[in-house]
Amino acid sequence: MSHLDDEIHMLAETVDRYVADRAGGRASGGDAWTELADLGWLLLPYPEAAGGLGLGAAGVSAVMQGHGRGLLPTPYLPFIVMAGGALARCPRAADALAAVMAGERRVAAGFAVGRPAAITAEPDGAGWRLGGTQPHVLAVDEADAVLVAARPGAEGGTGLFLVGLDLPGVTVETYPLPDGRRAGRVILNGVALPAADRLDDGDAAALLGDVETATLLAAAAENLGAMQVLYEETLAYAKLRKQFGRPIGSFQSLQFRLVDMWIKLDEVRSLVASAAAAGDGPEAAQLAVAAWIQSLWSGRSIGEEAIQLHGAIGMTEEHAAGRYVKRILVNELLFGAPERHFARYRSTMQG
């Protein structure tokens, strides 16, 4: 095992313990984000040169699987993978990234995967004036700033702007998502920014493309964690629940369906593991997009089967199955259904 493998292995164990503690109600009771900072998870994906731990996609994958398994509410994906990931790729964002890594600044992601920028930026003296509405910004109610992608005036391309949520002209309307997490619309009405708050190097399109790929892999890892629980719970229930004097898992028709769940889970696990291990290699993007798409195919099917095989109890709000199904579904609605990523997948195979 390489040094990196060792570190990932240890990280995965820490994640397991953290998730188990949360499930057992033994959380510290303090601020969850501070806990993640104390565990070092806020700096874990970023390059060592930037002050991070350099664990990259493999580290993110371990943390995100934990988020899926434990249905953790912490906004690791939008704050660290999306906004932080973009900051880490902007040469002029070192200070902002340092503040994010220290847990001092909480920056939400004001850009959507696979959608053109919704905000416009007009030159205004030496600075910029931003306008427009960014929908569905995850966990914006926990953030103090939002990193928005905007189309800058006549220039073309995409700019990245760091917008404090307390600036004049910024309005945030928050609402619950179907899985209980929260998001919000960020409405920018002529928000004035100094030139220094534009962080990209002229065009952020390429770096945002990379961030989107990393986001899809992280979300696939979260889905993997969630469907792992769905599978395990259903398997355990099939062994426990008796009807007609036998465990329902002894009926062959249900055995076959559980086997299919297991295979579908393994397909995602295999793609996520390979994508996470691929680093920046040539296959990394292709595997990441494939992992995301497969996580939705498998996730839908495993989720629906989990409810079905539990019978009526799977239909209750109290039972965990529904919460996991909703998490995977909301991830799909946030980051895009399989078909929306086919073209992206094909583009990763060119050249």
Partner: protein, 391 residues
């Protein structure tokens, strides 16, 4: 296979359509269209509209005070009904308690209970399932011990839809613990206001309150509330299963939902989306196959044949298609489904895209279709054994 409908049948269908369309309140139609939650008053108010034409107990024979429709008219009624956004009427009285009472009850029971069901005065619930008895219903444990002219009932029912609204519950109980499970079961009608009954809500996955736990603690039920003979409850329950399966395809309703999704796609300017068009066309063809399976079965039963357990195929395909449609609606509205609002679902607040507002809740809620009314696995077991004769 197509059915040729007589002029009289066509006139009947037109009458149904016109009456429903003229009397369906706009606000109720909107709630159904947008999958918002209905209140007890929504249901009973609408059922009064049906009862005014004696179409609430629409499947009942004339001897039981029903409209005495032919099989063909029943089919045409369902088709006209499903085409409009009418609430799905509460079935437990009209489709379950009623038929058992008019088939197996005595004269006194018929007089006492049937008018209240038919005229939508009593709200009924079904007390079959228990924590340990779901697909294996015969494993139920609730006991009814005879004490003079009463039964003393103890036990627990679960998943009891609308027990919280009900005046009456028809219930399967054990009256004999010594014999083979199926033979010791009796069919009791229990007044929900009896002392010793506790109803506890269970929320469904979409946050709604449909079903409940019902605890029965020394509930005294008069012997005259037993339908038929002691120990014959299982036979009556099985009779009902066959009665019920035929009406479970939901094809007409699915056709309406499909056209609603099409209209939404047009409103969203998505008519040029080839993938969406393919899915809509594919589902329409699946639905057409279901409709024609149903028509063929209908033609056979009009010809005097009892289709019996074969109707299970309609439940299987009908529920699968309804679920696929609920998924398609989520896929169509995609990120517009992200805003969750209980106030919208309870029709207390508008939404900028109401078609999307209820889409996720409906997708989740419709998972029940393949679980209840005899799960689709149980339906397949029935077909395997009784139609394919696989032992």
């Amino acid at each position: 296979m197509t059915m040729i409908f007589s002029d009289a049948d066509k006139a009947f269908a037109a009458d149904v359509r016109d009456y429903l369309a003229a009397n369906l309140p706009e606000e109720l139609a909107r709630k159904v269209r947008y999958n918002q939650r209905l209140t007890r008053d929504d249901y009973t108010g609408w059922q009064d509209v049906l009862a005014a034409r004696n179409w609430y107990a629409v499947g009942w024979p004339a001897e039981a005070g029903g409209p005495g429709l032919t099989q063909t008219q029943r089919y045409l009624f369902e088709r006209a009904y499903g085409a409009l956004p009418c609430p799905h009427p509460c079935q437990f009285g009209i489709a379950m308690a009623g038929p058992v009472i008019f088939t197996f009850g005595n004269e006194e029971q018929k007089e006492r209970f049937l008018p209240g069901i038919r005229e939508n005065r009593d709200f009924w619930c079904q007390g079959y399932s228990e924590p340990g008895a779901g697909s294996d219903l015969a494993a139920l444990k609730t006991t009814a011990v005879r004490e003079g002219d009463h039964y003393r009932v103890n036990g627990q029912k679960i998943w009891t839809t609308w027990a919280n609204w009900a005046d009456w519950m028809f219930c399967l109980v054990k009256t004999d613990l010594q014999v083979k499970p199926q033979r010791g079961i009796s069919f009791l009608l229990i007044d929900m206001r009896s002392p010793g009954i506790t109803v506890r809500p269970i929320r469904t996955i979409d946050g709604d309150h449909e079903f409940n736990e019902v605890f029965l603690n020394d509930v005294m039920v008069p012997v005259e509330n037993r339908i038929g003979e002691e120990g014959q409850g299982w036979t009556y329950a099985k009779f009902l299963l066959e009665f019920e399966r035929f009406s479970m395809s939901g094809a007409a309703r699915s056709r309406r939902v499909l056209s609603e999704i099409r209209a939404d796609a047009e409103a969203l300017g998505r008519t040029g989306d080839a993938r969406l068009a393919e899915r809509l066309t594919g589902l329409e063809i699946e639905l057409l196959a279901l409709e024609h399976m149903e028509l063929r079965l209908l033609a056979r039963s009009v010809g005097g044949e009892n289709p019996g357990p074969e109707a299970s195929k309609l439940k299987i395909r009908g529920t699968e298609i309804a679920q696929a449609l609920s998924r398609l609606r989520v896929d169509l509205h995609a990120e517009d489904c992200l805003v969750h609002s209980d106030a919208f679902l309870d029709a207390l607040e508008p939404s900028s895209n109401p078609a999307a507002g209820g889409a996720v809740a409906t997708y989740l809620n419709q998972r029940k279709l393949t679980i209840w009314g005899g799960s689709n696995e149980v339906q397949r077991m029935i077909l395997a054994k009784q139609i394919l004769e696989l032992g």
